[in-house]
């Protein structure tokens, strides 16, 4: 092949010989430059892994009762103090945090599945499908979300999985709306028209052509929905309508300790701060992802 050398030379000059970076790699590189989001990401990983590592290293069991050490404040022996039964609160807080993370993950999973599915159908097919999905959303939104959860929570709340499911029933709405909007835009795009002209059916167009292009904003929403789910779950549990003993979440721990707030405020402040830090990191992560996935719409910082 006599022309290869020349071609390569020419390509080099046009900057075409550089292997193009994949979308994922470009996003990761932009995300890495977003300092705040990167810090949030690192803290989040450290926090979540500590929730699982600390109980293993801890000398105390989660349900281990030590009456002689009951209701203590912060000390070297018990860094987060103890509850009125003498259970070590560091171990219990970590267990509660595991539950909060688990619920956030389940909510993210279910609400992404439902939200993407219904949003895609509504956005792609429009007409009565869209009207139906819209009415479902309006039906849930006609009564404020927390009030709905309170009423439903007393009937179906209690265990961890039940609470996760209840919160997911409200949370899919935001994702469905985002996906619906994206599908409305993208279904008129040239590449979709081309696919349609080439004979692709609705299933192929939705899953192979539109959905991959909609995943960026959905990913951002997932981080935000998980943060909101953590807040909703802890609020429900705090009010006694979410996770209830013997199961523990961070909200349940705070609900148990609020009666002792004047004696051992640390029992409220520590789980509350962990809760805030978790949600804060998730929100910063979402912010960073938004900037990284779609450089055109970023507004917050350069």
């Amino acid at each position: 092949m006599p022309n290869t050398a020349i071609d390569l030379h020419q390509l080099e000059a046009e900057g075409l010989s550089i292997k193009p970076k994949s979308f994922g790699r470009q996003t990761w590189e932009r995300f890495r430059r977003h300092r705040l989001a990167m810090i949030a990401f690192v803290i989040l990983v450290l926090l979540i892994s500590s929730f699982w590592i600390v109980p293993i290293l801890s000398p105390y069991g989660v349900r281990e009762i030590n009456i002689q050490d009951a209701a203590q404040g912060v000390s070297w022996k018990h860094p987060f103090g103890t509850d009125p039964l003498g259970r070590d609160l560091m171990t219990r807080t970590m267990e509660g945090a595991q539950v909060s993370i688990y619920i956030a993950a389940v909510v993210a999973l279910i609400s992404t599945a439902i939200g993407t599915f219904l949003g895609a159908l509504a956005g792609y097919f429009g007409k009565w499908v869209d009207a139906l999905v819209n009415q479902m959303i309006n039906l849930i939104l006609v009564v404020p979300a927390l009030v709905v959860l309170l009423v439903v929570g007393i009937k179906f709340g209690g265990s961890v999985n039940q609470v996760a499911f209840l919160v997911a029933l409200i949370s899919w709405i935001t994702i469905a709306r985002i996906v619906r909007g994206l599908f409305f835009q993208l279904k008129e795009a040239d590449f979709v028209q081309a696919a349609r002209a080439a004979g692709a059916g609705p299933g192929r167009i939705i899953f192979r052509h539109i959905l991959p292009n909609a995943m960026g904003p959905v990913l951002v929403q997932i981080t935000l929905v998980s943060g909101a789910a953590i807040i909703l779950e802890s609020t429900l549990s705090f009010l006694g309508l979410g996770v209830t003993p013997p199961d523990t979440s961070l909200g349940t721990l705070i609900a148990e300790s609020k009666g002792f707030i004047d004696v051992t405020p640390s029992r409220v402040l520590i789980p509350g701060s962990i809760l805030t830090l978790l949600v804060l990191c998730l929100n910063f992560l979402g912010d960073g992802l938004r900037d990284a996935l779609d450089p055109a719409t970023r507004k917050t910082r350069q």
Binding site: I140, V151, F238, K299
Partner: protein, 327 residues
């Protein structure tokens, strides 16, 4: 505009009926008073059971489509339309509307001042950080609002209690744990009781609103007519407050209406933490006591407030921005 409003209201009514039916059925099935009485009072005679069945209408199903007139939900709905919300089963068989009315007044004592604090503070912070975009103050305000959004309301309330009730309790002499017990004495006492609940209500809403106002303001500040205003030599104060702010506030009106309706509906979390006798704690105790009439009355009030203010916001949007055609 009137036709639009009427159409919107008509479209919401079926949704409201379906939603209240679902919540009514759920709330009715939480407790079985007859079974409870049988356990707690095994020697009670049939008269007591009959009275209970009569009180809760237990002889009728929640909704019987073949015979709707004999259903509890339809009976409740019919009474509500005539303005009768029934009597409470947890608050001493008083009419629900009386209790809700007193509690709603208490909620308004918090909600109205809170709204003015929120609106002015959020506007100030949002405009300030938009005008000084990328300055240190902007970053500080942005960081604080991220913190405010991330902090669950109940934790912020408890944090304030620890801060002012324990660490610095002798500064203002506030006893922030039972605010309800002191608010009849004098205006200063009332002010002391409502300060911390209002601050708690304010935080999350100010955080989200100031972000929204900042974004709206930034969009306006970079538009052509602002450049024109600057080019013709107007002072910066006039450019910002007369030309930019007025336009930037148009979308904010919607947010204000929604937030105000949410405040008027009572905050379950904040009012419970500070033991404020508003609608929130009433709803919570009614839910736990399975007091169906009370729960439904509060839910209806909250929903109607939200729907009404949402509609008002949309109508106002059309008035403030003539480019938007309401149809």
């Amino acid at each position: 505009m009137f036709a639009y409003a009427a159409r919107r209201i008509l479209a919401t009514i079926p949704l409201l009926i379906v939603a209240t039916l679902g919540l009514f059925a759920l709330e009715s099935s939480v407790r079985d008073p007859v079974a409870e009485l049988r356990v707690s009072c095994p020697r009670c005679d049939q008269v007591a059971f009959d009275r209970l069945i009569d009180l809760y209408d237990l002889d009728k199903p929640v909704l019987d489509l073949s015979n709707p007139a004999e259903s509890r939900y339809v009976a409740w709905l019919g009474n509500v339309i005539t303005g009768d919300f029934g009597s409470s089963t947890s608050q001493g068989e008083n009419p629900v509307s009386d209790t809700v009315f007193t509690r709603a007044k208490n909620t308004m004592i918090l909600a109205i001042p809170a709204f003015f604090v929120i609106a002015s503070l959020a506007t100030f912070l949002g405009v300030f950080s938009a005008v000084r975009q990328y300055s240190k103050t902007d970053y500080a305000i942005t960081g604080l609002s991220f913190l405010g959004i991330a902090m669950p309301t109940f934790f912020f309330g408890l944090f304030l209690q620890v801060f002012w009730g324990i660490w610095f309790h002798d500064w203002f002499g506030m006893r922030p744990f039972f605010t309800s017990q002191m608010h009849d004495d004098s205006f200063v006492d009332l002010l002391k009781s409502i300060t911390l609940p209002i601050v708690t209500l304010t935080l999350v809403v100010v955080a989200t609103e100031s972000r929204f106002i900042r974004a709206s303001m930034l969009e306006v500040v970079h538009s052509d007519y602002i450049r024109t205003a600057r080019a013709k030599g107007l002072s910066e104060r006039k450019v910002i407050f007369k030309h930019a702010l007025r336009n930037a506030m148009i979308p904010v009106v919607t947010i204000w209406a929604l937030d105000f309706s949410a405040l008027l509906g009572g905050s379950v979390v904040t009012e419970s933490i500070f033991s404020w006798p508003g609608l929130g704690p009433l709803l919570l105790t009614a839910i736990f006591a399975a007091d169906v009439n009370m729960v439904m009355a509060i839910i209806l009030l909250i929903s109607v407030l939200a729907i009404g203010f949402n509609l008002i916001a949309d109508l106002l949007y059309g008035v403030l921005d003539p480019r938007i055609r309401i149809s």
